[in-house]
């Protein structure tokens, strides 16, 4: 493995720090290095990995939108937790065949197979037993992760094979990615994105009205499986950069962010893709200049920060706009109440007086204020 040159994304930061640790730890130098990576000035390999991660973010946003509209956001969680068994078993098999190099495609194939098994058993349990789908997801994903930990501990006994990077698949690390790894990630992500866009109309129909879709002769079950496969493809693509424990969040957070900004599907997919790309861009580039910080958590925290900001300032559904609307309504109601009171002071019978006074008129307003009903798109 040593003869294959690796150009870790972190090398840039190391280069920045070689002229002196004190200067390297200096905040200004770090910011400068970060700005250079952000503007794609961080060297060939860094750029390839960064662009691959951004593509991953785009396709996670698009696929995640449909997964969330369909109420299947947690399937990604199960797929990614279960993928550890497949990765470790594929690694053991590869080592048993006498291969010493780590083969990312083979690891991903193993991950995809075990992820598919997990989804199939969750579906089967939810359909054929009295357990709820949520319970099925929680049990299968955690137990299969346990099996993965067992298999991972068995890989430690294999000597000679290159098991570097196996542990990193759990929490994600762009630092150990080769440009071939990044290319594989980009291809998978682009394929998932292309399939989602090609199936845009049918996926929308199935997401919103399953019965209508079935009446139009759409193969609803097949499309469910296709959506699960697309989620799986994104999860596999994100295995290395984001890590299996966190990649589910990359499918949920951008889609949830987009829901706050729009109520229509096409804009939602676009906004989600943009949010995913932004989170991947920021997270991966910060990780590139701070080697001790893994990319996965940084990308997820960037996505969560985007969601939080959107939750506050989004025009229709944001907390801020809701509060302003509430205040406007309350003010209008108070004005109306005051007008009614001044216009009809003497003729009004005393029994109706409480209805038009200030305190009681503001009370009903609060019940029509936004965010009280569990409305959906």
């Amino acid at each position: 493995m040593l003869d294959v040159p690796r150009w870790p994304l972190a090398s840039l930061a190391n280069a920045a720090m070689t002229d002196g640790t004190a200067a390297g730890q200096d905040g200004a130098a770090l910011l400068q290095a970060w700005a250079r990576v952000l503007t794609f000035g961080g060297g060939y390999n860094t750029n390839v990995v960064l662009m691959g991660t951004i593509l991953l973010g785009i396709s996670a946003g698009a696929v995640g939108s449909f997964a969330m509209l369909k109420g299947r956001a947690l399937v990604a969680d199960a797929i990614s937790h279960a993928s550890l068994v497949g990765v470790a078993l594929a690694f053991l098999l590869h080592a048993a065949l006498g291969q010493e190099e780590r083969s990312m495609p083979l690891l991903m194939l193993g991950a995809a197979l075990s992820g598919a098994c997990a989804v199939a058993s969750i579906e089967w349990i939810a359909r054929n037993t009295r357990l709820s789908p949520e319970t099925a997801v929680a049990t299968i994903s955690s137990a299969s992760f346990g099996a993965g930990i067992v298999a991972l501990s068995a890989t430690r006994r294999v000597s000679g094979a290159d098991r570097a990077g196996l542990d990193e698949l759990i929490f994600g690390s762009t630092a150990s990615m080769t440009s071939a790894d990044a290319a594989l990630m980009a291809v998978l992500a682009t394929t998932a994105l292309g399939a989602t866009l090609a199936l845009y109309k049918v996926l929308t129909a199935v997401a919103f009205n399953e019965r209508f879709a079935r009446s139009r002769g759409l193969p609803v079950q097949l499309l469910d499986a296709v959506l699960a496969a697309l989620v799986g493809a994104v999860a596999m693509a994100g295995l290395q950069a984001v890590g299996m424990l966190l990649v589910a969040a990359l499918l949920v957070a951008p889609a949830a962010t987009a829901r706050l900004w729009t109520t229509r599907v096409a804009p939602m997919v676009v906004v989600a893709a943009a949010a995913g790309a932004g989170a991947a861009w920021v997270g991966a580039s910060i990780s590139a200049v701070t080697p001790s910080a893994p990319a996965g958590p940084l990308i997820i925290l960037s996505a969560a920060a985007t969601f939080l900001v959107s939750l506050l300032v989004a025009p229709e559904r944001g907390v801020l706009s809701g509060w302003l609307r509430h205040r406007r309504l309350a003010a209008a109601a108070r004005r109306a109440a005051a007008e009614a009171a001044s216009g009809a002071t003497s003729p009004a019978p005393s029994s109706t007086a409480p209805i038009s006074t200030g305190p009681s008129s503001t009370a009903p307003i609060s019940t029509v204020a936004p965010h009280t009903g569990p409305g959906r798109t």
Binding site: M68, G71, A73, L74, D77, W124, N128, T129, R130, L131, S132, E134, T135, V137, A138, T139, S141, S142, A143, S144, F145, G146, A147, G148, I149, V150, L152, S153, A154, R157, I170, F171, L245, L246, A248, A249, V252, A253, A255, A256, R259, L260, S292, A293, P294, G296, P297, L298, I300, L301, A304, F307, L311, R317, V319, G322, H371, P374, G375, R376
Partner: protein, 304 residues
């Protein structure tokens, strides 16, 4: 008495406690909430550890409880204001909290060896080895008792406390599990029962952190109860069976990983992972058996 008696006790006690408390989560269809809590306590644990510099149970519990309360509030707020469906909100919050915990751990990774990412995944059973006395004379002498690791004793204590709490609060728990409004109308306090269960569950997750790690605690919190749910319809047997299955998975899993695996594979494998996988296999077996039994009446109904 063997060197690894204490790890075995710790795994079994932790598995039984988690299965006992998890049975109420599964019964109220809140399995995902257990999943979310076990993930989201991580930043609380890390912050408590970084502030105090030790793994003392008290600060760790406070940190975990604060993190769990924060994520509970965040999930509620996101469902209400963001109008995101429940499972997506839960998924969003707990992965974010977990990411925060992992980031804090990794950023301080070089500084401490006591709390690292591996121990999040599979606990640190190897810290609990104890050179147990072999004769009564040694027990009376006392020096080996001083070396007794505290974690297994705490876990056994928590198991006893949880059992006592469940037995004492049984009428309340039963009423709340099936009909909370009715329970309230009879002057009982469903919220008190929920709060008590949540506190015990968080405590169990924190103490189990040493024994099985925070991710695999989820398997023990959900799998034995789900298996028991498939096998029985009555609440008393359900909870007992759940505890029994949890303890059995803990003990058998530990023995498999440390005794059987060396014979089969030439070396021991991760014990807590084996426990989790075993509890999942138990669930699959129970599902396979009961699914056939469930289908029979349906087909008879279809014939008529």
């Amino acid at each position: 008495m063997t060197l690894d008696l204490m790890p075995m006790v710790a795994v079994t006690a932790s598995a039984a406690t988690l299965a006992l408390l998890g049975s109420f989560l599964v019964l109220r269809r809140q399995a995902m909430l257990g999943d979310a809590m076990a993930h989201s306590v991580l930043p609380g644990l890390v912050v408590a550890f970084l502030l105090t510099g030790s793994r003392a149970a008290g600060p760790m519990f406070l940190g975990a409880a604060a993190a769990a309360a924060l994520s509970g509030a965040a999930i509620g707020a996101i469902i209400r204001y963001g109008r995101v469906e429940r499972s997506a909100a839960i998924g969003l919050v707990y992965t974010t909290m977990f990411a925060l915990g992992v980031l804090l751990l990794e950023l301080n990774g070089g500084a401490n060896v006591d709390l690292d990412v591996d121990c999040v995944l599979s606990g640190q059973l190897e810290l609990m080895f104890w050179n147990a006395p072999t004769t009564w004379a040694e027990v009376l002498e006392g020096p080996s008792l001083a070396g007794l690791p505290p974690q297994p004793l705490r876990l056994v204590g928590l198991l006893a406390a949880s059992c006592t709490a469940v037995v004492a609060g049984w009428p309340l728990l039963r009423a709340v599990a099936f009909d909370a409004p009715f329970a309230r109308s009879r002057g009982l306090h469903p919220s008190a029962a929920s709060a008590g269960l949540m506190t015990l569950t968080i405590l169990a997750i924190v103490l189990s952190f040493d024994a099985v790690g925070s991710i695999l605690a989820i398997a023990l919190l959900t799998c034995p109860p789900a298996t028991a749910r498939l096998l029985t319809d009555r609440m008393g047997p359900y909870v007992l069976l759940s505890v029994g299955l949890g303890a059995a998975a803990g003990l058998l899993g530990y023995l498999l990983a440390t005794r059987a695996a060396p014979l089969l594979l030439g070396g021991s494998v991760d014990a807590s992972g084996t426990v989790a996988a075993l509890s999942g296999l138990g669930l699959l077996a129970a599902a396979a058996c009961t699914a056939r039994a469930r289908r029979l009446p349906e087909s008879q109904g279809a014939d008529l």
